[in-house]
């Protein structure tokens, strides 16, 4: 990944015994995640009151932000921002893969596309969880990370398309049958509910709250992680880079204190909002 090597240029110098840090995410990738989780929280916060519009909290929240005119406005606003971010990402992927002919985008160890190793890793990981085997050696993107990526990708298309179909219903009715207009709300709300429940419970725990990363995996915010973390979490990638002699290219500065603190605060707020929405969703879902 050519991008990943750039920040490393400025950090060749080592501070003796100090722990080494390695780049995992580029600035663009971190920004994409920031836009993604900000708009996702916004969409969830404005979408859930619509989904559970009979709940007292939904009505209180709606009147707090200025009624439904405001709710629907912000929902559409976040949707447009996220759509733009998604399109920029897709364009970037195609640019790198098809135009620049960058290797490793669509297949290979650094690709987001699933492969046979992911299936073996999943089964091996499950065996390890119940104490029947060794822990699999994960590559750059573990199978659950790929699932997260494709779940968002699929969700973006499904929720996005169904959302725009409702927003511009008379236009979409020119080429969609009438019953599809009924279907898009069911699809939109169920898929969004899945995304919300998944992100605010599974993704939060898998990525941030599990003992290895608790309370938060900072790498998506700072872009770098310590050598120890790198070795434990992605031994296969570490070994591959070491074998290829490319490990040095990925060395980076330890994250600045302000960045770590800022990321902690932002991450904690995001997780807190997410967990609050999760509790409200579950209470409305099982309360009604």
């Amino acid at each position: 990944m050519a991008d990943l090597e750039q920040p490393a240029q400025e950090s060749k110098e080592q501070n003796g015994a100090k722990e080494r840090y390695f780049v995992r995410f580029t600035r663009a990738q971190r920004y994409l995640h920031a836009v993604l989780f900000t708009t996702f929280l916004g969409l969830a916060a404005t979408g859930l009151p619509m989904r559970f519009s009979q709940s007292a909290w939904a009505r209180m929240f709606a009147s707090g932000v200025g009624g439904f005119g405001a709710i629907i406005f912000f929902h559409k606003f976040f949707a447009v921002v996220l759509t733009v971010a998604f399109l920029i990402h897709v364009k970037g992927v195609f640019q790198r893969g098809l135009v620049n002919r960058e290797k490793g985008i669509f297949w290979g160890p650094t690709s987001m596309v699933g492969n046979w190793k992911d299936v073996k890793d999943l089964l091996g990981h499950l065996r390890w969880m119940v104490g029947l085997g060794p822990k699999p050696q994960f590559e750059r993107y573990a199978y659950w990370e790929k699932f997260d990526y494709w779940a968002v990708f699929w969700g973006m298309i499904v929720i996005g398309f169904s959302g725009y179909a409702m927003w511009f219903a008379p236009f979409f009715a020119r080429f969609l049958p009438g019953w599809a207009l009924n279907a898009v709300l069911v699809i939109h709300s169920e898929e969004a509910l899945l995304a919300i429940l998944f992100i605010f419970s599974i993704h939060f725990v898998n990525t941030h709250l599990r003992p290895d990363s608790f309370p938060m995996d900072m790498v998506i915010f700072t872009g770098v992680e310590s050598e120890e973390e790198f070795k434990i979490k992605r031994p296969k990638e570490y070994q591959r880079l070491a074998a290829e002699g490319k490990l040095e290219n990925r060395i980076a500065h330890a994250p600045a204190l302000w960045l770590t603190n800022f990321s902690r605060a932002v991450g904690a707020i995001a997780i807190l909002i997410g967990l609050t929405l999760l509790v409200l969703t579950l209470s409305a879902y099982f309360g009604s």
């Binding site: 519009s53 939904a58 709606a62 009624g67 779940a151 009715a173 019953w179 009924n182 898998n206 290895d212």
Partner: protein, 397 residues
């Protein structure tokens, strides 16, 4: 000259005689000699003073005291005298009171509504307690009293009326035509709304409201609800079921639009639950945004007609126009949208049913798998952490 003056004298004398003959023995001036004193009280401490100028300007100002106080023939008169019987003259009104909710003369003397017996004015006079703009305050003296309402099992209606569209028209605009209590309940022959003769009896409500709202009443009577009421089906809603009887709001107000859909839903339960599943309801339920379609935006409010009626806004031929009122560009395909689709009903909406089933299975299976995956992972990670710590002689060693 002499004969002329004698003729005039004779005329004057006979005129006096004519005037004096039917009059009571005691003249106003005689009574007022004592009763004009504002501090005058009877033995039990009640005021027996009469405001003479006010009495003279009142509708009864031309009568002699003894016309009403018939027991008093001479002076001095007894301390205790029989109560005044208004029905001696006002027989029609008295007949009206018989059988009414205010029939008890002891609890509801005429003065309880008409005010001070010596200051009664015609109802067209702004000084009258029953002048249209004063009626609510007069009735409210009792019907704005929460404990009195509770005691009689009534609603405390006066505050509700004051804040209603009728109350505002009356108190803020001073409209004489604004409905006051008496416009709907009548005046003397007021009957309980349970009495079929009462103008507020359910079946009579459309006619009562129609006294002013004639156009709406005609539309209503042409619709399914009006026809049902006319046929004696009293489960059908009348004006007051949707608009309430006293706290009537401007129907375009957000609060009214918010509260009214559940009113339709209280009878049309299946339609209400399917409406609740739609974007129209989801958006509209939270208030502040009143434009989303409610029942009457598609079905009309008063002249509600079945979809089979070509004049109905939900008749197939009219759907593009009806939906198009909000959705500019609505076409034939657009109006195939079902505003009451039931995704839980396989027979009625198979496509929607299977889409919902698929989405639920997807949601359920993904979450179930990852739930198990995450929990196992957490347990294993925790176990390994403890093992590592104990191996290193840590706090769990």
């Amino acid at each position: 000259m002499k004969s002329r003056s004698s003729i005039a004298l004779t005329w004057a004398a006979s005129a006096l005689l004519l005037l004096a003959a039917p009059r009571a023995v005691v003249a106003q001036t005689d009574c007022l000699a004592c009763h004009a004193d504002a501090s005058m009280q009877d033995a039990s401490g009640h005021s027996v003073a009469v405001d003479a100028p006010k009495f003279h300007s009142s509708i009864h100002g031309g009568l002699q005291c003894s016309d009403c106080h018939t027991a008093i023939k001479d002076y001095p008169h007894p301390d205790k005298i029989t109560p005044v019987q208004c029905d001696t003259c006002h027989a029609d009104e008295a007949a009206g009171l018989v059988g009414s909710v205010h029939a008890s003369r002891a609890e509801h003397p005429c003065t309880s509504c008409h005010g001070d017996a010596h200051a009664i004015f015609p109802k067209a006079d702004p000084r009258s307690a029953v002048y249209p703009l004063n009626v609510p305050r007069t009735c409210g003296a009792c019907h704005g009293n929460a404990s009195m309402a509770k005691q009689h099992g009534l609603n405390n209606v006066y505050p509700l009326y004051l804040d209603s569209i009728h109350g505002f028209a009356l108190s803020k605009e001073g409209l004489l035509v604004a409905a006051n209590c008496q416009s709907c309940h009548g005046s003397h022959h007021i009957l309980s709304h349970k009495d079929p003769q009462s103008p507020t009896y359910k079946a009579n409500v459309p006619k009562t409201c129609g006294n002013c709202h004639a156009g709406i009443a005609a539309e209503y009577m042409g619709g399914v609800h009006g026809k049902a009421i006319a046929a004696g089906e009293l489960d059908a809603p009348v004006c007051s079921d949707c608009h309430t009887a006293h706290a009537i709001e401007q129907p375009t107000a957000s609060a009214f639009r918010m509260q009214s859909t559940p009113i339709c839903g209280s009878c049309h339960k299946d339609k209400f639950s399917t409406y609740r599943d739609t974007f129209h309801s989801q958006l509209g339920s939270l208030g502040g945004y009143v434009e989303t379609a409610r029942c009457w935006d598609c079905h009309k409010a008063h002249e509600i007609l079945p979809a089979s009626d070509p004049r109905s806004p939900i008749n197939k031929a009219n759907l593009i126009a009806t939906c198009g009122r909000c959705h500019a560009g609505a076409n034939r395909s657009f109006v195939q949208y079902q505003p009451h689709a039931n995704a839980r009903n396989r027979k009625l909406n198979p496509a929607l049913y299977f889409i919902r089933l698929f989405m639920n299975l997807l949601l359920g299976s993904v979450l179930t798998f990852f739930m198990i995956h995450t929990v196992l992972w957490l347990i294993r990670s925790h176990y390994i952490q403890i093992k590592t710590r104990s191996a290193n002689g840590g706090k769990n060693g």
